[in-house]
Subunit: 329 residues, 2 copies
DNA sequence: TTGTAAGCGTTATCAT
DNA sequence: ATGATAACGCTTACAA
């Protein structure tokens, strides 16, 4: 039972391949009788067109690359799911690659995807490979940056207002009378980490609180680095009474650290980026900056389809505002 | 700057397209001088072969479909990540589709993917579409079932021993002197849910405990259904002292339910399928049946590459054994 | 060792 | 309204 081609259908239906193609694509003229008949034959033989041949001929792959730092992170996958839905509706498929925050893997991924002739690229980048990303965009592949920005690259971007949210987090802690606030930041190669750090610093400055370098520690967005950061902070002569953590994984590590040190989980007030599902289940002082991955995904999906449809209007820069949810609300 | 083709390279290098192709694929004979020269030209012009044209000619798409019920579930995405790595290494790309447990969407997904001429299909199915899955396999597309089985379909399967693990869970609770055990099962259309229910029933039977129908409630693997199940169980004249829950989302719902009802979180002993990350952070009596998504992914990845490489040996049925981790360990 | 050319399954142009 | 056929970019007999 070898794969059927358009020729088989043409022969069976007693018409030319051109006619079959016209029926398949609802293009050109074809009489109703023939149309019905052809569709009947197609159904009878259970013919499925070959998307690869079509792609070659039309020079359109109908595929979109999506490059993420961590495929197991529900934040990114909530974004991805919304995009996938939209693409599926429109007949596009997504090629996923997981870079594990590694710029070298990211480079390989970009090479791989360009060979696969993706029509667009959705990227939550590691921070590296600027030239290549630029080149990809220059080659006519639509690039949409998501969650993370690249300064100087004029590309569509959908991300959250990290500076605003971080500043709000610090203001919240200050209002609660905290003055020594530990700041656990992420890798400065990543734009979100830079922005969250910056927002926090602005918050402190505007409140007239001097920046204490020993209270600012840099993790790498992993759980272990959060635990480590907590240990360092609590080992200070004058430890913080509150902590601002730049992502959810590190915050998880912070609580594990408290447990290891025998500190009550509510002895330190924490504000953290990212949705932390368990937070509703126990009494600790954890406030959360809720992000909007699903909304981001929908916006990216719409923008993507518009761009693929030929929309050449100016580069868009969409900003969503995360919401601070205090722990007692 | 229109896309370069093999002809451009051939002209520039002063050789035929066949030679370029040979260099590109390390196939046939080509003298070292020419090889060097061609590679030089390729690099200079930054030529990238067109994977679509190659696919058409070779009748190999180098693509693999992966159909999952929930792309945001870290369990499935841990599986997927391991597969993605392996595929990427081998030059295959993955087409993801999320079915949201909906058999109709699954059907659309399968149609979509066969048009895209996937060479293999990784499926964590909804339970429906048996004929189509059979047909896909019959058409020479390698099918690997993951996590969930289809009885009567002779297909490679990599899954966990749900019956054994569920039985062990019940035995554990019985050993802790529980006699009234609430069982929160999943949708019986899904094989894992059926198996987990069955294992639990075997455990009770072997201990000589009569099955109490009112203690067996069926959820749908969602958080809300877990909360709902707890409410129903606690409304019984004689509520259970322990609960066996068939997945992690429902367990989360159970704890939310306890909180809503004002029950102390450690007033009921729970054993649950699935990794529950927060469980280490607070004192409740939650034991967990740890699954092995990463291992599953690696096994599937290896099997997949073997099958794509032409391994036609008998259908494999790999079974991993999840481990019960008691809450005090 | 290298080149020529047919062909993969479509679509689209040009006739008819 | 329908049909022939060239072309998409590559691989691979077959020839030289």
């Amino acid at each position: 039972m070898t794969k059927l081609t358009i020729k088989d259908i043409a022969k069976e239906a007693g018409v030319s391949t051109a006619t079959i193609s016209r029926v398949l694509n609802n293009s050109g003229y074809v009489s109703n009788d023939i149309k019905q008949h052809v569709m009947e034959v197609i159904r009878k033989l259970n013919y499925q067109p070959n998307a690869i041949a079509r792609s070659l001929k039309q020079e359109k792959s109908r595929s979109v690359g999506i490059v993420l730092p961590d495929m197991t992170n529900p934040y990114f996958m909530n974004i991805a799911r919304a995009i996938q839905h939209r693409c599926f509706q429109e007949g596009y498929h997504l090629l996923f690659v997981d870079t594990e925050e590694n710029p070298d893997k990211e480079k390989e991924a970009l090479d791989f995807l360009t060979e696969k002739r993706i029509e667009a690229l959705i990227l939550a980048g590691t921070g590296g490979n600027r030239e290549q990303i630029q080149a990809i965009s220059g080659a006519g592949i639509r690039v949409i940056l998501v969650d993370r920005r690249y300064s100087n690259l004029k590309l569509d971007t959908v991300a959250e207002d990290n500076i605003y949210a971080s500043k709000a987090a610090i203001e919240y802690l200050i209002e609660k009378n905290h003055r020594r606030i530990g700041i656990i930041g992420g890798p400065q190669s990543i734009s979100t980490a830079r922005e969250r750090r910056q927002g926090a610093m602005i918050g402190l400055e505007e409140a007239g609180i001097a920046l204490a370098p020993e209270l600012m520690v840099e993790g790498d967005y992993t759980r272990d680095s959060g635990t480590d950061a907590l240990r360092r902070l609590m080992a200070l002569p004058e430890p913080p009474t509150a902590i601002f953590s730049a992502n959810n994984e590190m915050t998880f590590g912070v609580y594990l650290g408290m447990q290891q040190l025998g500190l009550p989980l509510d002895s330190i007030e924490v504000v953290s980026f990212g949705n932390l599902e368990f937070s509703s289940l126990f009494r600790h002082k954890l406030s959360v900056i809720m992000q909007n991955p699903h909304d981001i995904g929908e916006i990216v999906g719409d923008l993507l389809i518009r761009r693929l449809g030929g929309d050449d209007s100016e580069t868009e820069n969409q900003v969503l505002v995360p919401k601070l949810v205090p722990y007692e609300a």
